[in-house]
Symmetry: C2
Subunit: 316 residues, 2 copies
């Protein structure tokens, strides 16, 4: 009989839950709204409900599972499994999610932050397969990362290792959501791109984005689209994005010396527009010996990375 686990990807807007087999295939998947503002108790009830619903759909019971893996959009205290205060889950402060879930289900439950889980998922079932020193980085509204070092997830003392998005790349730079200045995330996330666009527009730069800005919020995807159509200001922003990504990746390379880096998240939809510049800057900036055999590739698990990553906590 094949191994099965349930993976729960708790996000700021939705809870995605799936049954995953030991080869990383998602056999069944549902989504419920998170409705974070209703508070932890109600959200956890919906997580519980989602598990029973996927089990029912496949005519399974808890006894058929190796366990339940859960990933959350924020820091998890290693060991205790207490969820600290994730910015995307207002009202969650020090929620002992691991022990609550273990009590509810009385089977093996594992918990990680989403970037770590995604790194493990890509390591077991995606582009990190068989790569002992592997890093997964997600670039979307924020920047997160997970590090596999010597085949093991790098957690650090309390689960706070690999906070790649909050490594300083310019201590004189813009203020980040974390309070620090010049974090990688404050330069290279989709949110940062949008902020740079807004600043340029308000400073009077000629760009098609200026017209858009009057009607709606300018997002990274608009900038990439405008750059494709030849808008000069948008092209500059994309050029800078490649530079910032290159500098941030170089820090990652000098910190961990990985064999392969996989990049996921929303911004990879425009992969072809920043890849070359990012790679060039990374190679110029990082120590030569560490980039010699390094590969930087797109992550492959796509929108299922959360569910598969969560389940991989059980299969690891």
């Amino acid at each position: 009989m094949r191994e099965l686990a349930v993976g729960i990807d708790l996000g700021g807007t939705k809870i995605a839950t799936g049954v995953v087999d030991g080869e990383g295939h998602v056999l069944c998947r549902i989504e419920l709204p998170t409705l974070a503002k209703e508070g932890p108790e109600r959200v956890i009830q919906r997580m519980e409900e989602s598990v029973y619903r996927v089990l029912q759909q496949m005519d399974l019971s808890l006894a058929d599972l190796e366990g339940i893996g859960v990933c959350v959009p924020g820091p998890v205290e290693a060991g205790s499994g207490v969820v600290k205060n994730p910015p995307n889950l207002p009202g969650w402060q020090e929620v002992p999610l691991l022990s609550i879930m273990r009590e509810k289900f009385n089977i093996n439950v594992q918990l990680e932050n989403d970037a770590n889980a995604a790194a493990l998922g890509e390591h077991l079932f995606g582009v990190g397969k068989g790569i002992e020193n592997f890093i997964y980085i997600t670039i979307s509204t924020g920047i997160g990362g997970g590090v596999i070092a010597g085949g093991r997830l790098l957690r650090g003392e309390s689960g706070g290792a690999a906070e790649i998005g909050h490594m300083t790349i310019n201590f004189e730079g813009p203020t980040c959501g974390c309070g620090n200045r010049g974090c990688f995330e404050a330069y290279a996330s989709g949110t940062a791109m949008a902020r740079f666009a807004r600043e340029g527009i308000l400073a009077g730069r000629k760009t098609v984005l200026a017209d858009l800005y009057k009607k709606e919020e300018v997002r990274a995807e608009h900038i990439f689209a405008a750059a494709r159509e030849g808008d000069e200001f948008a092209r500059e922003l994309v050029e800078k994005e490649g530079f910032y990504l290159g500098v941030g990746l170089a820090n990652v390379v000098n910190a961990y010396n990985p064999r392969r880096i996989a990049i996921g998240g929303g911004l990879t939809k425009a992969w072809d527009m920043f890849y070359e510049r990012m790679l060039k800057v990374m190679r110029e900036t990082a120590l030569a010996a560490s980039v010699e055999n390094l590969e930087v590739v797109r992550a492959v698990l796509g929108q299922d990375v959360g569910v598969i990553g969560a389940a991989s906590l059980i299969f690891h």
Copy 2:
């Protein structure tokens, strides 16, 4: 019978070799000049000679040893044990030191870069004892580091992990010896302090260091001494040094989430002058959850750290 190993600390100016017991005590120690300009072959001969001399002094033979550990001032390729081109050993390019030493001695030989070996030495026998997530940082002419993660030395794919000195803290900053801009080392090493002093003096700053500069090279120790005596410019430099160290440490914290960081190297002689500012900036800059239980302390193995660290490669 107690375990014994020989540790060889190959430096740019001297070779320090000692017999170390399984509790990290240096039982006997000699120093020979490196004379790096004579080339790898002659230097390796002196390393060999140093081993036989310490053995003779203690009336031991190779058979009494668990092995020989060697540390070198530059990158070592993990696995192959090839020494890349250390800036302090001119003429050393791709020297297969590990296999040469193994052939010469025909016993267990281990090789690491000096910062990694020092981290392991402090982890086994110093302030990192029993600390599973521990980081050693040396601040002198350069900045180096070694990371113990989950009780194991973090090497990365080819031995290039934990290149802490070359993590970017300001991509618009001064050029570093590695070719990159704004490395931690380019801001916070003793060499960087001296450069900032020189720049200020040449820009006409009033300081006692200006008189010194006419006679000899201004070094970090002069700056600390002048600051102690109330020199305003020197105080500014020390204040900045604390800031840069704090920013660099915060990067280290966000990358590895250690339980304890030990700092060694020449600049720690002025520990009391930068410690408070460094710690304050680090705490403000790093993610709050990761600094909660973090300790930053001085390394304790002192000038023996190289010999003990090298020997600890055998005891690990």
